[in-house]
């Protein structure tokens, strides 16, 4: 019959139309505007509309999502901020569009470079969100943030982030990237344990030889 193909296609369209609303009616409003609803709509066997009603609902970004970088600082027992960055410059060299600008100074007493950045600029208009700075930092000092709502009215003033604006606490990092944070803490702890064991072994040996 001429037209059979078109009719088959229209049958598929009708099926889609009906399934769009079945889940909505079944769950009667619990499908939107709450986190369980978003989770339901993100599963691979979702039926019906899975559009996320932004900005009332926001899809939680997965852990690996990368947007603009930020610098991590730890807080020690006295409550002081310890910036992890040593201004080694590797992130600046690994950055493809060269959007990281670092100012490093030398210590006047020792003549060697001071292991903290005097100034640290990132031009977020140029940043291409590749994640190389975070990937190649040897001190876990710069990581990729999840915040993507960064528009402003004056990009000349607002879109060059300086050191103050880039620093965020390690708790924030643990909050947005729990698995990565746990893995890095584990590696740090193992290193400390190994160092402590090596020191003990040396102390033992020198104690024995005395």
């Amino acid at each position: 019959m001429f037209g059979k193909g078109i009719l088959k296609g229209m049958w598929v369209t009708m099926k889609h139309f009906v399934t769009t609303y079945v889940d909505d009616i079944r769950l009667l409003g619990k499908r939107y505007y709450n986190p369980e609803g978003i989770k339901l709509r993100s599963r691979p066997d979702v039926k019906g509309i899975f559009t996320v009603q932004y900005p009332e609902e926001k899809l939680p970004p997965p852990e690996e999502f990368r947007y603009i970088p930020f610098l991590v600082y730890d807080v020690n027992e006295e409550g002081e901020k310890i910036v992890r960055c040593t201004s080694c410059g590797i992130c600046s060299k690994a950055c493809p569009p060269q959007c990281i600008w670092i100012v490093q100074t030398t210590d006047p007493k020792t003549g060697r470079p001071r292991p903290e950045p005097v100034e640290f600029f990132i031009d977020i208009d140029i940043c291409m969100n590749c994640g190389y700075c975070a990937e190649y930092c040897p001190f876990d000092a710069i990581k990729m943030d999840h915040d993507y709502e960064l528009s402003s009215y004056d990009r000349a003033k607002e879109h060059i982030y300086n050191l103050e604006r880039l620093l965020k606490p390690a708790e924030y990092y643990a909050d947005i990237r729990p698995k990565n944070f746990a893995r890095e803490e584990e590696i740090k702890r193992e290193k400390e344990a190994k160092k402590a064991a090596a020191l003990q072994a040396k102390a033992q040996k020198s104690g024995d030889s005395d």
């Binding site: 970004p61 997965p62 690996e64 060269q98 670092i102 100012v103 100034e119 190389y132």
Partner: protein, 581 residues
């Protein structure tokens, strides 16, 4: 390369004792051919040795040796690896005989070498600029040409660290003061810009129709760069006789960003995220091609672990599915089924992009591959999601798309018999990918010249024999089914283990040249790299399938109606990011 010991290579040297010599430079494995003998050698390669597929033509500027070199990569359409010919001419006045009449596929590529490097091709019928506008002064890819806002020759720039006092580069050259006139322009006010006379002159040089009863006019229409159906900023200047097309010339270059020059400033690692931005719908396969080219040069320094090889194949095939459903959706959109089938097709793509986001960090600019593996492992919950997608949801949805569209009478009426490309034309015009295979030539790089671990998977090469738009549309459904087969095998067999042999961020690549090519969803995506032993590439060229597939657009479209052009262009499936680079 050890294959040089078997014929036909030594045969070639025997045939042309003065013209052809084996390339002795460190890391080069081709033939140096004398410019005068080039056409003869190419004809012998095509007619007697079976190398009928000229895939890539590119130019290199060796400023320190005062030479310009043009590199040709020949393949057999029955499969196998490449035969490279290098032709060197002096840099002062570089002229090489054109291969246009032997291999029509070099049309756009020779124009690009003229445009960006200034190499003249003797005998090319229409040697105009292709990527830059007609009045551009200079040849950007020459080593002595500096771009606007020039910082330094090679990244990383020294003004970022340790004295990195930030400045915005647009403040160094404020608006209004950023105009430069070429040195040989005596009076700027009296300058008339070059118009597109050459383009329109070439266009109107068509064979007028036979025996017309009416006296009609021919109309020149620009399906301009801003058009909802041209898949990006692409322009076609057509000459119409009523509704029938009599001549057509594609005009590209509206998205040209001089990616190759940026590539020469970057280090090898820096180039990886830039390749994402080439064919922006298929970022994983772009990364794959670049990783393969650099790993060819690196050799033993970058051995890819097993799990990483499987992840690479999984990501490539997911990209192929995502690209083909997008293409099918857009063909239907262009036909007039306004948005509904497109959105149904793209629904599946959303789930694939969620997998990319959870693994690589970003939906579209994935930057996932590294030299020696992939950057991150796939989390376990994402892997379960992938398994469910590949084994259950995607096959069902593709079958639904099939029912929805394959027997549709409107599609059959509008696409069958429209825009036929014969197999011989497809090979000589350099077509690749679904365009080539829908014309009856079963050439798939994953089978013909395997890379990665594709030789371990059991899949068929999708071929269709009519060469019209309907076949180009159905072959994409076939390829998605084959990709699902590969994915099901990969997901079943993937081993545990590391995913990366670590490489430093400032890796130095040994000297030499390499051409790494992959079967991207659009066709043959090739990366030609020349390395001089430093941290930055000396020459970085991309053989873009979208641009080369357009070589045959004029031939396909002549005689069709103007409404068919839109469908034909959609079925060739171009993306301007890779066409213009």
């Amino acid at each position: 390369m050890t294959e040089k010991t078997i014929s036909p290579p030594t045969e070639l040297e025997k045939r042309f004792p003065q013209g052809v010599t084996l390339d002795q430079r460190e890391g080069y494995s081709g033939y140096l051919v004398d410019a005068q003998k080039l056409v003869e050698v190419a004809t012998v390669l095509r007619d007697e040795m079976g190398y009928d597929y000229l895939s890539s033509v590119t130019g290199v500027d060796y400023i320190q040796d005062n030479l310009m070199e043009v590199v040709y990569h020949f393949y057999k359409s029955t499969g196998g690896s490449e035969l490279t010919l290098n032709v060197q001419v002096s840099r002062e006045n570089p002229v090489i005989p054109s291969l246009y009449h032997t291999f029509p596929s070099v049309d756009f590529q020779e124009r690009e070498a003229w445009d960006l490097l200034g190499i003249k091709f003797d005998g090319h019928p229409d040697l105009r600029r292709i990527l830059l506008w007609e009045g551009f002064a200079g040849h950007p890819l020459r080593k002595d040409w500096k771009e606007p806002f020039f910082n330094e020759d090679n990244k990383p720039f020294s003004n970022r660290w340790p004295e990195g006092n930030v400045f915005r580069v647009e403040d160094t050259n404020p608006y209004g003061k950023n105009v430069q006139y070429p040195d040989d322009l005596a009076q700027p006010e009296k300058w008339k810009p070059e118009t597109e006379d050459l383009l329109y002159a070439g266009l109107l040089d068509f064979k007028a129709g036979e025996g017309k009863d009416f006296k009609t006019d021919y109309v020149v229409v620009n399906l301009g760069p801003q058009h909802p159906s041209t898949h990006g900023v692409f322009r076609m200047a057509v000459v119409l006789d009523g509704e029938t097309i009599v001549a057509l010339k594609p005009v590209v270059g509206y998205l040209h960003r001089n990616h190759e020059k940026i590539g020469e400033r970057n280090t090898y690692l820096h180039n990886m995220p830039y390749t994402d931005r080439l064919d922006y719908l298929c970022s994983m396969t772009n990364n794959f091609g670049y990783a393969i080219a650099v790993e060819k040069l690196l050799g033993k320094k970058a051995v890819v672990p097993e799990r990483a090889e499987y992840l690479r194949v999984i990501m490539s095939e997911l990209t192929r599915i995502s690209n083909h459903v997008w293409a099918i959706g857009f063909i239907l959109n262009d036909l007039g089924a306004f948005f509904t089938p497109m959105l149904y097709a793209i629904e599946e793509r959303e789930l694939i992009l969620d997998i990319f986001e959870a693994t690589a960090g970003s939906r579209m600019m994935c930057n996932y591959f590294r030299f020696g593996g992939v950057s991150r492992d796939m989390p376990e919950d994402v892997f379960q999601k992938l398994k469910e997608l590949v084994n259950e949801r995607l096959p069902r949805k593709i079958d639904e798309l099939d029912i929805y569209l394959t027997e549709n009478e409107i599609i059959a009426e509008r696409c069958e018999g429209v825009g036929i490309l014969s197999p011989d034309d497809a090979i000589t015009l350099g077509a690749s990918g679904p365009l080539l295979r829908s014309s009856g030539v079963p050439y798939d790089i994953r089978r013909a010249d395997p890379y990665g671990i594709y030789d371990r998977f059991d899949f068929d090469v999708a071929v269709r024999y009519h060469g019209d738009c309907y076949d180009r549309f159905i072959i994409r459904l076939d390829e998605v089914r084959q990709s699902l087969r590969i994915l099901q095998q990969a997901v079943r067999d993937i081993p545990e283990g590391p995913v990366l042999t670590k490489n430093p961020y400032n890796i130095r690549v040994p000297e030499g040249e390499a051409y790494g090519r992959i079967e991207s969803p659009k066709g043959e995506l090739g990366y030609y790299l020349v390395s001089d032993g430093t941290a930055n590439p000396y020459r970085y060229h991309i053989r873009a399938p979208s641009l080369i597939n357009l070589t045959g657009l004029e031939k396909i479209c002549i005689g069709q109606k103007i409404a068919d052009v839109v469908v034909i262009l959609g079925s060739i499936d171009i993306v301007l990011g890779e066409c213009d680079r």
